[in-house]
Assembly symmetry: C2
Homo-oligomer: 333 residues x 2
């Protein structure tokens, strides 16, 4: 039988209000009673029922992280960052994975809202986020990470700087003389991809090279998808000398497909991947990656959520800079 505040109060011969006050320090209570109550709390290992507390206080000290693809290592690292900061700040974290299905995402937000969650960090499945306004307009805090859209008004965002990411990767390849640079990506019509393509275009422009749509290849964001994309892209353009792959799993697939084609990396085709996985350095060849800091994105996102909770008008877009980790696969070391 769970012990409640009432039980403590009865045994200490005080009112439950008094017990509440000593627990929360909301009123001064004589040392005598205070001691007695404290002892009983110890004795019974009593902890106030937080559901009741939440109901009364209309706050749960709980946030949720809603992601569109949990197995993705980039996402995993973000979750890691969010959880860490949440814990530090005394929040609990609900995790839900929408598996890239938008309807489920929408439903999820709705049930989380009804749970009196304090706020949500959302890594959305699509760019189709008008539905969020219904919540944000009543000051329910939502912050977007990774992907975003301007359709969601009044929503802070924290992302990697994707324009810079695309620019830096392309620039690095261009600088080393490549002129035909293929690009493989796993999702279309999301800000991450779009911005990176913009950056890529901008780099081309600075080198006075034309942009050619057909050097872009969309595939599934999986190992097999990466392989298939390379196959399709290279049969269309056998003159490609460098490749930028926007997803780590696809990078792995790309490499194995190229091995199958007996193409040498970087001699025949230079490669830059995105993200990072522990083994990037011992793969053959070690992969040059442009990386965004997912854990930092996660932590920052939680901080931003807190800001948003305390100030409903808070609304910034924080973009964290990428960095290029040069290894063998791009052919310049």
């Amino acid at each position: 039988m769970k012990v409640t505040m009432k039980d403590i109060a009865k045994e200490a011969q005080v009112s439950i209000a008094t017990v509440s006050h000593v627990i929360n320090g909301t009123k001064h209570i004589t040392e005598n009673k205070q001691k007695k109550i404290m002892n009983l709390i110890q004795k019974y290992n009593y902890i106030p029922n937080s559901t009741a507390k939440n109901l009364r206080q209309k706050t749960t000290k709980t946030a949720a992280m809603v992601v569109s693809s949990l197995p993705d290592s980039f996402v995993t690292e973000m979750v890691y960052g969010v959880e860490e900061r949440a814990r530090e700040m005394g929040y609990n974290l609900l995790l839900v994975n929408t598996n890239e299905v938008k309807d489920y995402e929408e439903e999820t937000i709705s049930v989380l809202h009804s749970r009196m969650i304090d706020g949500i960090i959302l890594s959305p499945a699509s760019s189709d986020l008008e539905y969020l306004n219904k919540y944000t307009s009543e000051d329910f805090p939502v912050v977007l990470v990774n992907r975003y859209t301007d359709l969601a008004k009044n929503t802070p965002k924290v992302t990697g700087d994707n324009f810079q990411t695309g620019y830096d990767a392309a620039f690095h390849l261009l600088k080393h003389g490549h002129k035909k640079i293929g690009m493989i990506y796993g999702v279309s019509n999301v800000s991450t991809t779009d911005e990176r393509i913009k950056g890529y275009k901008e780099a081309l422009k600075n080198y006075n090279l034309p942009f050619n749509e057909s050097y872009m290849e969309l595939g599934h964001a999986t190992v097999a998808g990466g392989a298939a994309a390379v196959k399709s892209l290279l049969t269309r353009h056998n003159d490609i000398s460098a490749l930028f792959v926007l997803n780590d799993l696809m990078t792995i697939g790309a490499i194995s497909q190229m091995k199958e084609f007996l193409l040498k990396i970087p001699e025949d085709i230079a490669l830059i991947g995105f993200g990072d996985f522990a083994s990037a350095s011992i793969v053959d060849p070690p992969i040059t990656n442009i990386v965004q800091p997912p854990a930092t994105i996660g932590k920052t996102a939680f901080d931003v959520l807190l800001s948003k909770i305390h100030n409903p008008n808070y609304k910034k877009h924080i973009e964290l800079p990428p960095s290029l980790i040069v290894r063998k696969s791009c052919g310049c070391v």
Copy 2:
């Protein structure tokens, strides 16, 4: 201003009990009023406040997963499995990472308990789990995954079959003529490691070979830790012909350290790793791994939690079999 059941009731000119009944189908209500209420619910997009509901019903449809190391890919995959099944069953999932610190684990369980969580899936930091009995003895459902101990009575467990894992890996190497087999592990005094060592010993016994403690090496469960462990182990025993590494990050470190030593895998030293990561197949050389199915462990764990919730006496230890994925690093293909 959030709309409540009271608001709906007032506008429909019925009592709140009636509204509750139509929502939950707990009593037959005339079609007329039913329609009216439904419409209002639609109109206001009303969802019952679950905190209030939880308080009354003493159940939250929420489970928690408490892990000791979130960045670990094995753990990540388990979380993935748990989340998926939880979602399918209409549960929300709280995630907390204890970073291998036991005191925090204990505190965490305590606060989760006070949140009226329906149950916990725990991947513990240590084997020191007596403290759990305080909860399980009052029928608070806890299931252990991955690591376990018999100290926690009345607690179901779901794990990989670690004895078999150790046995199979060792047996495979022995079968191919290896006699001096080193073993590198990242955590000591946990069931996973202990059982695997037992399996390894048993395999040795079946080959009439002696067990030598000094072929075991404990290191940090990181890439750098794997490298350091190899260094230490090989300077102690330069006659080792095969290595079994119990952790995927350490495997990566081991490989790069061996490369530095100019040792060829598998010619100079055969290698079997544990777990699996997407790139295991394109690493140079591709790694032979003995794998346990983390996502399946996660899903199973949630099913077991449900069983435990519905039947407080439920108490099984489910062990899922490992499988050996043979690639180049063990020298037999």
